[in-house]
């Protein structure tokens, strides 16, 4: 069950979207998220949906992968929707005791819902179509201007690479520890919240110890492979800003322009 988590998963492929320069994709994703908060009417959201839909079609990522990324956050979305529907004041459509639904409430809830769904799908399109190394290289490149003020861009990127690599390993380890503790009679399923939180201690302690052991092994292995920080390091897939990146940038800028103009003019 715990292994089903697909955080930051990459879907191997060879599409145009996969081939885009990670720097372009990261910036575009960030700006897309900002744009989602600029939009505040339905036509604007239609533009945002159309763009995202085009990216999904071009990327050839199966929809069930996208759906899988969305599933774990559905509860959060449902919760936000409920809160918004009942909490926003305005013209009352329906009332029952202290509960009431207003037209404004429905509108805000719909917008928040669409925003969240687009936000999650948008950012998971970034991780689904960019290999982890590309992602971290991109972040490193985008952060490198800040090296002058002492930001360890390379080290941060390397930490991210390793963190992404070891998510499944640590999940497997957690699974193993849970089973081992259950075999010894540990009970994780009953009792109140406090009791259940306490029951996590026998999982977390061995997990931490094993994380440290893995870290030590990995450090040895990296040293044995001549890792010495950023000095003289080259990359197998150096990032190149190609023609398709220019085209993508132009299309994306057009999208931003439409969103902003639409907000300002209408």
């Amino acid at each position: 069950m715990i292994r089903d988590i697909t955080l930051g998963q990459y879907y191997p492929g060879n599409s145009v979207i996969h081939k885009l320069d990670p720097r372009v994709k990261i910036l575009a994703t960030l700006l897309y998220i900002v744009a989602l908060f600029v939009v505040n009417d339905f036509p604007g959201f239609i533009v945002a949906v159309v763009l995202l839909e085009a990216v999904i079609i071009l990327s050839k990522v199966p929809r069930r992968y996208i759906w899988r990324g969305l599933k774990p956050v559905l509860i959060i979305i449902a919760f936000t929707l409920t809160v918004n529907i009942f909490m926003v004041g305005g013209d009352i459509i329906w009332q029952f005791g202290i509960l009431h639904i207003t037209r404004q409430g429905l509108r805000t809830a719909a917008f928040v819902g669409i925003r969240l769904v687009l936000l999650i799908i948008g950012s998971s399109m970034l991780t689904l179509t960019t290999r982890p190394i590309g992602l971290t290289d991109g972040i490193e490149a985008l952060l490198s201007p800040f090296k002058k003020v002492g930001l360890p861009a390379h080290e941060l990127a390397m930490m991210m690479t390793i963190a992404l690599r070891f998510i499944p390993t640590l999940l497997e380890e957690t699974d193993k520890i849970i089973k081992a503790q259950q075999a010894r009679g540990a009970d994780f399923e009953s009792g109140n919240i406090l009791r259940r939180a306490k029951a996590l201690v026998p999982i977390l302690v061995p997990l931490f110890i094993s994380a440290f052991r893995i870290a030590q092994d990995l450090a040895m292995a990296m040293e044995a492979r001549c890792y010495g920080g950023v000095v003289k390091r080259t990359r197998m897939n150096a990032m190149k800003f190609a023609r398709r990146d220019l085209i993508a940038t132009v299309i994306f800028c057009a999208f931003l322009a439409v969103i902003v103009l639409q907000r300002v003019l209408l």
Binding site: R131, D217, M220, M236
Partner: protein, 283 residues
């Protein structure tokens, strides 16, 4: 010609006790040996005999407390030599999970060459060649955590090969694998050796040591026996005194001889035993 020369090596792990005073545990206690260029050397010994510590001394991951380790004439304890030594002697570790750095197979194989500052086009070629060499070319876009233990260990070997070292030290690479994975890893090590790579293979499986040109037996941080597998496995009682056995075939052959079957000395592999038995039957 010798490639690795170990002279009177002593290694101590230093820990601080509760009072803060340093406590030294001697893991290697006066070891000297040579590894010939292009040879296949196996180091066997039970847990805690110092074999892994010895392996980490062979490429400067650990530095001698006393004595010397020379790799192709380079002293590992000289700081300027560290990178050269690690490029000459690559290493494959025991746990396949904890030595893979990247979340995509081919990116992991590229990690070593990238650290060496090699040209991107050249890295690409090396990665492809190394992956083909371990028959993992089809998996180059896969995530390592979805592979079997044996496959992960093959990726780790490809990562070592891509650095184009002159020697690979295998530190119990088969200890965590199933029999199939074990066979694959050993076959790759032998294949690399056949192509000229110097191999140091640390193991506690006697069958694997039987493939070597040269065997070192360690116990209590010292080398207790040294010789060809034939010489070593002929000394069954001494090995048993060190809590080590001999390969099952060797055992079988010696039991058969005790029962009066006419067999030659020094049988090491299944094939040799089969041949000897068919000959014995023919007579």
């Amino acid at each position: 010609m010798e490639f690795i020369r170990v002279e009177d090596l002593i290694f101590e792990y230093v820990k601080t006790d509760e009072g803060g005073a340093p406590v030294a545990t001697r893991a290697i206690d006066g070891v000297s040996f040579n590894v010939e260029r292009g040879s296949f050397t196996a180091i066997i010994g039970q847990n805690g005999s110092g074999k892994s510590t010895l392996a980490k001394n062979l490429n400067g991951l650990l530095l001698p407390t006393e004595g010397k380790v020379l790799i192709d004439g380079l002293d590992t304890s000289v700081p300027e030599n560290t990178w050269k030594v690690r490029q000459k002697v690559a290493m494959v570790f025991q746990n396949p999970d904890n030595q893979i750095v990247s979340a995509i197979v081919e990116d992991d194989v590229a990690f070593g060459p990238e650290n060496l500052g090699i040209d991107p086009a050249e890295i690409r070629q090396r990665v492809d060649r190394a992956l083909e060499g371990v028959e993992m070319g089809d998996y180059k876009d896969k995530a390592p955590h979805l592979l079997s233990g044996g496959q992960k260990q093959r990726i780790a070997i490809a990562g070592a090969v891509a650095m184009e070292p002159e020697c690979i030290v295998f530190d119990e690479p088969t200890a965590m694998l199933d029999p199939k994975g074990r066979r694959e890893v050993l076959a790759i090590a032998r294949d690399l050796n056949a192509k000229g790579m110097t191999v140091v293979f640390i193991t506690h499986f006697m069958e694997e040591a039987a493939c070597a040109d040269h065997v070192l037996v360690m116990d209590g941080g010292q080398i207790r026996m040294e010789g060809t597998p034939r010489e070593i496995f002929a000394r069954e009682e001494e090995l048993e005194a060190l809590c080590l056995g001999v390969p099952a075939v060797v055992q079988l052959a010696s039991k058969l001889k005790q029962r009066g079957v006419d067999l030659p000395d020094g049988i090491l592999t299944d094939d040799e035993l089969v041949r000897a038995l068919t000959e014995a039957k023919a007579e």
